[in-house]
């Protein structure tokens, strides 16, 4: 009898414990606060107040509690811009949602850095394991939409043997292009009717459209970029 009672009690306690646990995990999804100066490292508080070290007001922490299919505030899929691809189809960036995106901004008549950027993109693509390739899309966005018509983009894709579904070439209005470059922190300027100056940045976005990694420079070691992509796909 006593044994049964004991087991019963134990069970009750266990249930209680589990209940407590679920309560706790509820709490973690509620708002958290953190010192803006990170005086205590990554320590978080459940309630607003002031930092015990520097006395600054605690700031609410943006929590990443998005559900599947939902996009976060930082997602590029919030951009309303419309683009045209190399097949002359109109698409919104949202159409690319679900894949890991590797993006770079170039213009097809560029003679100096762009061929090397294209080579870098190809180099990255080659290093993605075959069974993961389906989950990665590589995107070129033109910074010269006047010259880079869909036809021109198509030719460029063919010249570079990139005329498959995996490679997407986009052009948009000058304004949307400027906006997109602002999101990518890519700088560019027209320096003559034929040429642009631009920063050489390859950006990796996760399945929800959040910027996950950026590689800056030409012909640099892309090991980290590749490992980030593989990590995201898994």
């Amino acid at each position: 009898m006593k044994k049964i009672l004991n087991t019963g009690l134990l069970c009750l306690m266990l249930i209680n414990l589990i209940a407590c646990n679920t309560k706790n995990s509820d709490k973690t999804t509620a708002e958290k606060y953190q010192c803006p100066m990170h005086c205590e490292g990554g320590k978080t508080y459940d309630q607003p107040g002031t930092c015990s070290v520097c006395k600054m007001e605690l700031q609410p922490l943006a929590l990443n509690n998005k559900k599947k299919g939902e996009i976060s505030e930082l997602s590029i899929y919030n951009l309303p811009s419309k683009w045209t691809n190399q097949n002359n189809e109109e698409i919104q960036l949202k159409a690319l949602q679900g894949d890991v995106l590797v993006m770079v901004m170039i213009y097809t008549s560029c003679q100096t850095a762009c061929p090397r950027l294209v080579a870098d993109m190809r180099g990255i693509e080659e290093q993605i394991p075959a069974d993961k390739k389906d989950n990665v899309t590589l995107v070129f966005v033109s910074i010269d939409p006047q010259t880079d018509t869909p036809q021109r983009l198509k030719e460029f894709a063919k010249e570079n043997q990139m005329d498959t579904e995996k490679w997407v070439f986009l052009r948009g209005s000058e304004e949307d292009t400027r906006e997109f470059s602002a999101v990518l922190a890519v700088s560019y300027k027209k320096i003559s009717p034929m040429d642009f100056s631009h920063s050489n940045i390859i950006s990796v976005f996760d399945q929800g459209g959040e910027l996950a990694y950026q590689q800056e420079g030409l012909g640099i070691n892309n090991e980290e970029t590749v490992s980030k992509i593989i990590e995201l796909v898994n």
């Binding site: 997602s75 560029c110 850095a113 906006e179 602002a182 922190a185 003559s192 100056s197 030409l218 012909g219």
Partner: protein, 265 residues
């Protein structure tokens, strides 16, 4: 009946044109021209087409009206992609800029996305760097005062003055075009602020790192004497579009349709 009707229509036309005028009376026309900016295009002159520019920077009061009309731009509603945590940080709440900020002071702590949207909603746009610099090289009496020592000194003095962001609009000088406050209150967003090709690390730029920027050798300072302008370009080069900064506001411009076609951002 016919003539009366006509008269009424004409009157209506006049009234509506007056009210249109009222809407744009805070803008003035800047005559087009050619100038050599600090960062030239192939070190040659840049031609700016005629445009109209807001006489004053956008104020807290005006911006409040905007967020009430477009609630997605309220302090607590704005998406993090479009503005960082400092967006309207000194505003009391979503619907009030509070008592610390003046109603007729320039709105600051706004991101590039927010400024761009504001202008779009007024049927205007942000000025390009070239347009802004072109309008801002004027002093009271000359369209181009950049060679004047006093003019440069005035700007540099302001760069040193603290907390000018909360001064009322119109409290600095009226320039040749009739525009106030281009220098003296706040720094201002431009449409193509990210066309400045200098990296965050200034030491990197000495030999124009050709691996980071394609064609960077073509962009160099054409007038390093113009230290004030150099500061502005350097500042723009350090910005990201979602930054909301305390001394950074904006104003809008408008161009005619035909001039818009020639525009390169």
């Amino acid at each position: 009946m016919g003539p009366f009707f006509k008269l009424a229509l004409t009157l209506l036309g006049i009234i509506s044109s007056i009210s249109n005028f009222a809407q744009s009376e805070q803008m003035v026309s800047v005559k087009g021209g050619t100038y050599i900016p600090l960062y030239g295009v192939d070190s040659t002159a840049v031609t700016v087409d005629e445009f109209t520019m807001d006489v004053y920077p956008v104020t807290n009061k005006e911006y409040l009206k905007f967020v009430q009309e477009y609630p997605e731009w309220k302090k607590s509603k704005v998406k993090k992609l479009f503005a960082d945590g400092n967006y309207l940080v000194n505003w009391e709440d979503d619907d009030s800029y509070g008592s610390q900020l003046a109603a007729d002071a320039a709105v600051t702590n706004v991101s590039w996305f927010a400024a761009k949207k504001y202008c779009e909603c007024q049927g205007k746009r942000l000025p390009t760097v070239d347009e802004w610099e072109y309008a801002a090289m004027a002093d009271q009496n000359n369209p181009d005062a950049r060679t004047k020592e006093t003019y440069n000194q005035l700007i540099l003095d302001w760069y040193e003055a603290p907390k000018t962001f909360n001064n009322s609009i119109g409290s600095t000088f009226k320039n040749y075009w009739g525009i106030y406050d281009l220098h003296g209150l706040v720094w201002e967003w431009t449409m193509d602020f990210n066309s400045v090709l200098i990296s965050g690390e200034s030491r990197k730029d000495v030999d124009k790192d050709s691996n980071l920027f394609c064609g960077s050798a073509a962009v160099g300072a054409s007038d390093l004497m113009n230290y004030a302008a150099f500061m502005r370009y350097a500042f723009r080069g350090s910005l990201k579009a979602n930054y909301a900064i305390r001394n950074l506001g904006f104003r809008c411009v408008q161009t005619t349709e035909s001039n818009n076609k020639n525009l390169t951002y």
